[in-house]
């Protein structure tokens, strides 16, 4: 949980008192939204991507395995067929060299007949020769004059003698036509000597045969020697007798590789043909690009894209919504904090003011009494030179005391818990009454008062005296602000369950730095002695006490507008505070 919190704190917009400039906060929220979006996308997309990837590879493997099995199965079939061909060739030769026939086929005519018979069966037979154990060809039937040719030194001769059967690789030989040699050795029944029958067969036989087993399952089928020489022509690797480096192997293989110049991967499987030096090879191209695979990929891509789009839309709207919510909450909290701070400040200043007022009140009472006594005594004294001066001085003291008294009374009034006496009040009438007090002053200063009263304003339950003080203070301030020649507009209106009174003056307006402090006690812009700086702070306190609210809007050069909002029926807290 701790780790989570720390992680969360890293990208949540920090709550800094210092940062109150809008662009800084905006940047912060933007960053937060981006982080949130990234995180949500990661969280939602990661499993989807992993699942898609697993599905992709799993299905590909499955398809590969299936196809490989299919190809191996084909290979097995082809291998059997080829094996059958070789066995048949073998047995044909074997038939010729039955033990008792040795002397028979030494006869040229017999051998010729044999060759004709074999040719009838397999067109590829070219020649036949009988060789004795010394390697000398005793009889030969075929197109060349090879009688008496000595094969003693040739490798195949040793091999056929020791194994009894031999199949050579395809080679060109004298004739320059691809062919291979089939040889069988037999022991003479009457001696220890061997004799060998050698047959040459054109490679066409192999080629023709392999062409018949070309299946649809593979793209290429061919025979290759263990040294990599092609025995039959290959679709991919060239004609017979050419060298195929990839095919050079002596053990069964199945592998996947990239074919040069080909289309993608190629699967190749091979198996040895028994009793021959050959490998049978099957190759399948584009083995993965089947309909099943491509449609699977399309569907997977479609689903994945759909998921991604949904995730993106949801994440985007969620993160935007969340950020907006947080921003709103932050702003609300910030404004509440500011308000609380302000009323707190006012309250503490109020308490301080009350303390000061109370402390000053006592010495003030003493000064008041002493000057009164002096006045009394002066009245009992005969005339003397400066008696009048004394009188005026005492009057001056008492005037000063009177002003102090007014201040302390207002200060105390600001702080004390006043009893609110609720009564039905017609606000329009009350404002008219207050205006009656100020009529003369406004008239002297040529200030016109315009009234925009909502006629059917409901009666409100409020304290008459305090309301009078509130409007007196604000209208008086407006008159002071205008000085001479101007307009005061007073508007009353019902808004929801509140009555609002807007008092707009055409004065010089209030600069923003002063606007901030306008409800602070002792804050005044009037000349010393002219104002106490308490009028608006008292007004503020009174409005709050009555359960209402007061706001001020002003711009330099555009006058000031005070808006007082009062509930039609105050809640309980208004009565107590």
């Amino acid at each position: 949980m701790n780790v989570f919190n720390r992680w969360l704190a890293r990208f949540l917009p920090e709550d800094e008192y210092g940062v109150d400039d809008a662009s800084g906060m905006n940047k912060r929220y933007k960053k937060f939204r981006l982080s949130l979006l990234t995180t949500m996308l990661t969280i939602s997309m990661l499993p989807a991507t992993i699942t898609a990837a697993i599905g992709y590879f799993q299905y590909r493997d499955l398809l590969q395995t299936t196809e490989k099995e299919q190809l191996l199965w084909n290979l097995e079939g082809a291998q059997k067929t080829m094996q059958a061909l070789i066995n048949e060739l073998h047995s044909s030769i074997e038939f010729v060299v039955r033990e008792d026939r040795c002397d028979e086929i030494l006869d040229q005519d017999t051998l010729d007949t044999m060759l004709i018979r074999l040719k009838l069966k397999y067109n590829g037979f070219v020649d036949l020769g009988v060789i004795d154990s010394r390697g000398i060809q005793l009889t030969y039937s075929g197109p060349y004059k090879l009688r008496g040719y000595n094969y003693r030194v040739q490798e195949w001769f040793d091999q056929v003698q020791s194994h009894g059967f031999y199949v050579s690789n395809v080679f060109l030989g004298y004739r320059n036509i691809p062919h291979f040699v089939l040889a069988v050795s037999k022991k003479r029944p009457d001696s220890e000597d061997y004799w060998v029958l050698r047959a040459t067969i054109n490679a066409d036989t192999l080629q023709n045969f392999i062409s018949t087993i070309n299946t649809k399952a593979s793209d290429d089928i061919f025979i290759v020697s263990r040294t990599g020489k092609l025995q039959t022509s290959s679709h991919f690797f060239g004609n017979a007798m050419e060298y195929c480096p990839i095919c050079e192997t002596s053990s069964p293989i199945h592998e996947i590789f990239k074919l040069e110049g080909g289309m993608g991967d190629v699967l190749q499987v091979s198996a040895p043909l028994e009793n021959t030096p050959w490998m049978l090879v099957l190759v399948k191209e584009k083995y993965i690009h089947q309909a099943a695979w491509s449609s699977f990929r399309q569907r997977l891509l479609l689903i994945f894209l759909g998921c991604s789009a949904a995730c993106l839309v949801i994440s985007y709207s969620l993160s935007t919504m969340l950020t907006n919510r947080i921003r709103e909450t932050d702003e609300k909290r910030q404004s509440l904090l500011t308000e609380a701070e302000h009323s707190n400040k006012l309250a503490s200043i109020g308490r301080l003011a009350a303390g000061v007022a109370h402390e000053i009140n006592n010495p003030l009472a003493i000064i008041d009494q002493k000057s009164g006594l002096m006045q009394d005594l002066l009245g009992l004294t005969e005339d003397f030179k400066y008696k009048d001066k004394f009188y005026t001085s005492i009057a001056g003291i008492q005037n000063g005391v009177g002003r102090c008294k007014a201040i302390t009374h207002r200060l105390l009034g600001f702080a004390r818990r006043m009893d609110v006496i609720l009564e039905e009040i017609k606000l329009n009438e009350l404002i008219q009454e207050v205006l009656n007090f100020l009529e003369k002053e406004a008239m002297y200063n040529r200030i016109h008062v315009e009234l925009h009263f909502q006629e059917d304003l409901p009666t409100i339950y409020c304290d008459r005296g305090q309301l009078q003080q509130i409007f007196l203070n604000i209208i008086n301030n407006a008159i002071d602000a205008i000085g001479k020649d101007g307009l005061i507009e007073i508007t009353t209106k019902l808004q929801e369950s509140d009555v609002t009174v807007r008092i707009k003056d055409s004065g010089p307006g209030i600069p923003p730095n002063i606007l901030k402090h306008i409800f602070d006690p002792f804050f005044t812009t009037k000349a010393p002695g002219k104002g106490t700086g308490l009028g608006l702070s008292i007004t503020y306190g009174l409005v709050k006490k009555l359960g209402g609210d007061i706001t001020v809007n002003s711009e330099v050069g555009k006058g000031a507008t005070f808006e007082i909002r009062l509930p039609v029926k105050p809640d309980k807290s208004a009565k107590e505070s």
Binding site: A354, A357, H358, I366, Q369, G372, D376, R417, D419
Partner: protein, 129 residues
């Protein structure tokens, strides 16, 4: 003898003495004490007609002294001096038997009027029983 006897109870010595002097100049016998204890002991020895009683004092508060005075002699009238311009504490004093209250700094003429009213009340109340 119709001279009104007033006892001024206030911890501010200068205030009390000056007020007493000014009342004396207006033919009112005024005595001063500076705490609640002295006030309660003085009314036993020289019972006044009217007590001018400060609400806020160290030791015994104005309301406590008011209670003591009324317990001793309910016919002695008390005018409360409220220091903190609040009517509520003055009203509280009146609910507990004070004749009236007056705010500091006081208007002497208003005080004289209240003293006379209080005195008259005491006289009529004294005659009744």
């Amino acid at each position: 003898m119709s001279e009104i006897k007033v006892l001024i109870v206030d911890d501010e010595v200068e205030f009390a003495s000056t007020l007493a002097e000014r009342l004396e100049l207006r033919d009112i016998t005024a005595e001063t004490v500076n705490n609640g204890k002295d006030a309660l002991s003085t009314i036993l020895v020289r019972p006044p007609d009217v007590v001018i009683l400060d609400l806020k004092m160290p030791d015994l508060s104005g309301l406590e002294v008011l209670h003591g005075i009324k317990a001793h002699d309910p016919s002695i009238e008390v005018i409360m001096l409220t220091g903190h311009g609040s009517t509520s504490s003055g009203i509280e004093g009146m609910e507990r038997g004070a004749f009236d209250y007056i705010m500091k700094p006081i208007d002497l003429d208003l005080l004289l009027e209240k003293i006379n009213q209080a005195y008259e009340q005491r006289i009529t109340a004294g005659k009744q029983p």
